[in-house]
């Protein structure tokens, strides 16, 4: 066995890799949120940002491929650990009790799978446009003179998408679940990496909890603001 497979095969090693991939995914979440919030700076800011991502070309596919690999590793290892953990206690207790473990910490695979389902839906919704093709296929014309060109009107797509109660509801649920997942995940990273001390751990726990819910709330701002007609009123179907 190579050192890496041994490491990944061990409970502590696998947990470490789950933490590393989790960290990368968290960074992605932060970046994604920052990009999304451009919506509040208007159509041009949003669409320019989207366009610049498209212009990355090969690099974009590299990033997407990397992200996919990270995602897959995170999920596969976490599920493998979960199965191992379930088999570690074949017979349970007749009288169950929990002293201090939070619901979030006990439901990471469940919340993780909900987030996964959401991501797939989200991709089908806004990246591939499979769910609402007409709302997806909106374009705007930009530039002037000879340089007039069409580009994907991401701003309008989002605004149109979130005028649906169904989607707003789905996104709200998904973001609450993401918040739960992150509320345990972020502070847990420090433990898995081996940073813990009586003085800074309580601070970390508080900060991580806050960050998790700020991220979830940040994402929620968009569908809610659209649904409440605080942004995007200029977009017409």
């Amino acid at each position: 066995m190579s050192r890496l497979t041994k490491f990944l095969g061990s409970t502590v090693g696998a947990k470490f890799v789950v933490a590393v991939t989790g960290t990368l995914l968290s960074l992605f979440v932060v970046g994604h949120l920052a990009g999304n919030l451009l919506l509040f700076r208007g159509r041009d800011a949003m669409n320019t940002y989207a366009e610049s991502l498209q212009h990355l070309g090969a690099a974009l596919w590299l990033i997407r491929g990397g992200l996919l690999a990270v995602f897959a590793t995170h999920i596969v290892l976490a599920i493998r650990l979960k199965l191992r953990n379930q088999s570690a206690r074949p017979a349970g207790y007749a009288h169950e009790a929990t002293v201090q473990a939070s619901w979030a910490s006990r439901s990471m695979v469940l919340t993780g799978l909900v987030v996964l389902a959401f991501v797939l839906m989200h991709l089908a919704h806004f990246t591939l446009g499979w769910l609402e093709p007409t709302k997806y296929a909106v374009h705007e014309t930009v530039g002037s003179g000879d340089l007039l060109r069409e580009r994907h009107d991401v701003y309008a797509m989002v605004v149109l998408g979130f005028r649906s109660d169904l989607f707003v509801a789905l996104y709200v649920v998904a973001m609450v679940v993401l918040g739960l997942h992150l509320s345990h995940a972020l502070q847990s990273l420090f433990q898995s990496f081996g940073f813990r001390s009586p003085s800074f751990t309580p601070v970390i726990e508080r900060v991580c909890g806050t960050v998790a819910w700020v991220l979830a709330a940040g994402f929620l701002l968009i569908p809610l603001a659209v649904r409440l007609d605080l942004v995007g009123t200029e977009v017409t179907p």
């Binding site: 061990s10 201090q100 910490s105 009586p198 751990t201």
Partner: protein, 256 residues
């Protein structure tokens, strides 16, 4: 709280299992106890009654009855060692309960701790984890003078905090994943805090984790139920230490 005379009537739901390969079930018993009794003394009362009736008494592990040998291992109302923090079942006193209470008593549950009989389980896996590396390799007679190894008071205290582990297995019983990480890490961290233990820390980390996994314990997912039920209140900081050390040791070239 008991009634004025200190006696209390209790309904006990106890896991009964004749042998390792037989199936078991919860059986219910009524017992009259006294608030000054320890929890195990209350079980003694029940057992004396069962013997009187010609039934087999409830088997449970116990020995020192002063909270240090680590023998006693009862899950009481879903919590290893019962409701009082930092207390083994043998040190738990009936004044913690009320007259008329119903109490569930079950064995440690983990694949790596198979039930032998009733509430008795086989914790041999813990010995094997220690045998894999939970020691300092020093033969008798080869030690330098004790004061040649200087250890700061704070380090000695922290090491003691980890070394206080009594190997009872409550951490495993409480962990939703039946992980023995707190047990394993407590020994690792105890020795890592001391200069004499640092020399072979890499080998120790790798071998102890390998053995932990081979025994069929689950993985730690940072829920800290173990810390909450540990009768010696050992900190999960030990686990953080082992996490980091295991990573370093695995990535460095250590032959183990």
């Amino acid at each position: 709280m008991a009634n004025a005379t200190g006696t209390m009537r209790l309904k006990l739901h106890i896991w009964r299992q004749k042998g390792p390969n037989q199936s078991g079930a919860i059986k219910t018993y009524d017992v009259t106890a006294n608030e000054h009794m320890s929890f195990l003394e209350m079980l003694d009362v029940l057992n004396q009654e069962l013997i009187g009736k010609g039934e087999e008494p409830v088997a449970f592990d116990h020995d020192c009855r002063e909270g240090i040998c680590g023998s006693c291992n009862l899950v009481i109302n879903g919590v290893p060692h019962g409701p009082q923090r930092g207390t083994t079942a043998c040190q738990l006193h009936m004044r913690t309960f009320k007259d008329g209470d119903e109490i569930w008593i079950e064995p440690w549950r983990a694949k790596a701790f198979p039930v032998i009989k009733d509430l008795v389980v086989d914790r041999g896996a813990f010995d094997r984890i220690i045998a894999a590396g939970g020691y300092v390799s020093v033969n008798t007679g080869s030690a330098p003078d004790a004061n040649e190894i200087l250890i700061g008071k704070a380090d000695a205290e922290e090491a003691f905090g980890y070394a206080a582990c009594i190997g009872c297995g409550a951490c495993v019983a409480a962990c939703k994943n039946a992980s023995a990480m707190l047990f394993t890490a407590a020994k690792f961290a105890h020795l890592q805090k001391l200069p004499q233990g640092r020399v072979e820390a890499d080998r120790r980390a790798v071998r102890m984790v390998q053995q932990h996994d081979a025994e069929g314990f689950g993985s730690c997912t940072n829920q800290y139920e173990c810390e909450a039920v540990c009768p010696k209140e050992i900190s999960v900081t030990s686990i953080a230490r082992l996490n980091a050390a295991y990573r370093r040791a695995s990535l460095r070239s250590v032959e183990v």
